[in-house]
């Protein structure tokens, strides 16, 4: 009977907290959206599954060795940990209260030395870092995974349309207004007392408006790691929703006549221009914004491998095998941040709401900028391509093309929209660099 009871106490059902149950359902919902609705399945499948893994009771896959020891170790070990951390445990309270007290100290307020000593004790007793925790440390906390993905994106990007019409860079710049407006929105919500975001957190939330998964993850891993789960989920979910979010805004801000504008055909771009361009960006970054160097440096490196034509094999690996491997690890690591304590909060709802506002504002700013440019210049510009300035490559460009075709069945805007689209990637990386410079 005693043995049976031990087995029962060790089972998942006995230990499942309501929060974990809800998070497992959230993970299932993400899987459903990815599999049945085809929402960015490449990322949401690993993220959703990682979310479920992270919330398995007692397994502690997303916990460090120390957290795991605090969570499940025997009272004797807890006392050892308490001495290491410099906490006095109330001898009358039960083990649960001790765990709470230790958790509180371990997460804020403990000196690095004490933490290291406590960790050594936990490892000595036989606890190890959870699998997802290790993935997170290696892939995201170090910043490596989003950067390698960015390199792959660079290797997949064709700058041809942008080089043929460099003015479309302005559209990519305008659409970044979504990022900064949302930042201000998040700060405003805190000032009104609705939510409680610090400036760093507000900046990380704003980056969702850049519609660029790796950039969002990179920035939030630097500025607000505690919000990373919610931010990554919001960024990827809304990227999948671009075809639903953008068209109403685009139609609202343009007239039928503007949507029918046909654009002059793009000039052919020589191989040499394409090779020199990533180097030119890199030099500009080096001179003016070294903080954007990790993101744009990897991006340019990937693109140079693609265009230079002498390292086919490397470019192929960066575009396919490598980006796939890293996507799996990145997805699982993001999933590890979908733990009940941090995800089930009012802030998450705030992040989801602000994220969609960011998309909307970015889209409008891009379209309005395109209208302005159309009025100012002699060469006609269809305002619909402005919305592609929020990155979301190539989805946003396809949306521009589709809305353009609805207005004029002979008007193919896809190539024209690719210019602002890749400009948006550069723009959001620059915005990310500015934020990290200012707040990091």
């Amino acid at each position: 009977m005693e043995k049976l009871l031990t087995l029962w106490h060790g089972s998942g059902v006995y230990n499942l907290t309501p929060g974990q149950a809800v998070m497992i359902l959230v993970g299932m919902l993400l899987l459903y959206l990815a599999i049945a609705k085809k929402f960015e399945p490449l990322l949401l499948v690993p993220i959703g599954f990682g979310g479920i893994l992270a919330n398995i009771p007692e397994a502690g896959l997303a916990l460090s060795a120390l957290d795991q020891a605090i969570e499940v170790a025997k009272p004797a070990v807890l006392q050892q940990l308490a001495t290491a951390l410099g906490v006095t445990l109330d001898p009358l309270a039960n083990a649960e209260a001790w765990r709470e007290a230790l958790k509180g100290v371990a997460h804020d307020g403990a000196a690095p030395d004490a933490l290291r000593a406590a960790r050594d004790i936990a490892v000595g007793v036989g606890y190890g870092d959870g699998m997802l925790y290790s993935f997170y440390r290696v892939a995201i906390a170090s910043g490596i995974a989003p950067l390698i993905i960015f390199m792959g994106v660079g290797a997949m990007t064709d700058f041809g349309p942008l080089l043929a019409n460099p003015r479309t860079l302005f559209l990519g710049a305008a659409a970044q207004f979504g990022i900064f407006a949302t930042l201000f929105g998040a700060v405003g919500l805190s000032a009104l007392g609705v939510m409680d975001f610090s400036l760093n957190q507000a900046a990380a939330i704003g980056i969702i408006g850049g519609a660029d998964g790796p950039t969002s993850i990179y920035v939030s891993s630097v500025l607000a790691p505690e919000l990373l789960g919610a931010i990554a989920v919001a960024a990827y979910a809304y990227m999948a929703l671009v075809p639903l979010i953008q068209p109403p805004i685009m139609k609202l801000l343009t007239t039928q006549k503007e949507r029918e504008i046909t654009m002059t055909q793009l000039r052919p771009v020589s191989k040499r221009e394409k090779i020199v361009f990533p180097i030119a960006i890199l030099l500009l970054v080096a001179f003016f914004l070294p903080d954007a160097a990790p993101l744009l440096g990897m991006f340019c490196f990937g693109n140079l491998m693609r265009e230079c034509g002498v390292v086919e094999r490397l470019s192929d690996t960066a575009q396919n095998a490598l980006i796939n491997i890293v996507t799996i690890i990145l997805g699982l690591s993001v999933g590890s941040k979908l733990m009940a304590e941090s995800f089930l909060a009012v802030e998450t709802l705030g992040i989801l709401a602000l994220g969609i506002v960011a998309f909307g504002i970015g889209t409008s700013a891009g379209v309005l900028m395109a209208k302005l440019m159309n009025m100012m210049s002699k060469i006609p510009i269809n305002p619909l391509i402005g919305s592609a300035g929020v990155s979301a490559v190539p989805m946003a460009a396809r949306v521009s093309n589709k809305v353009g075709l609805e207005a004029n069945p002979h008007n193919f805007l896809l190539m024209h929209a690719m210019g602002p689209n890749v400009a948006g990637v550069i723009g959001s990386a620059v915005a990310a660099g500015v934020m990290i410079k200012y707040l990091g």
């Binding site: 080089l163 460099p166 860079l169 201000f184 700060v187 007392g193 620059v430």
Partner: protein, 84 residues
């Protein structure tokens, strides 16, 4: 007062960030345009003009004449039918 300070910080980050993004991308537009001009003028692609010349030169003369005869005949017949 804490709130006002936060708002101010947010506003200044917004202005600074947006301004910098524009300045940077404007610079990029200028650099790109210059680069395209320089490359177009001083380092044009050598391959592009070579290909069509070789293609035309390689076609055998005799076959060319046959084709010309056939085309002329076809055009002639077409015109006659439509001028009626």
């Amino acid at each position: 007062m804490q709130d006002m300070q936060l708002l101010e910080e947010g506003l200044s980050l917004m202005a600074l960030g947006m301004g910098f993004v524009f300045v940077f991308l404007t610079l990029l537009v200028i650099v790109t345009t210059l680069m395209s001009k320089v490359i177009g003028r001083f380092f044009p692609e050598p391959v592009a003009p070579a290909v069509p010349v070789r293609g035309r030169g390689a076609a055998p003369r005799g076959q060319d004449d046959d084709v010309m005869v056939a085309i002329t005949a076809a055009v002639h017949r077409y015109r006659r039918r439509h001028h009626r």
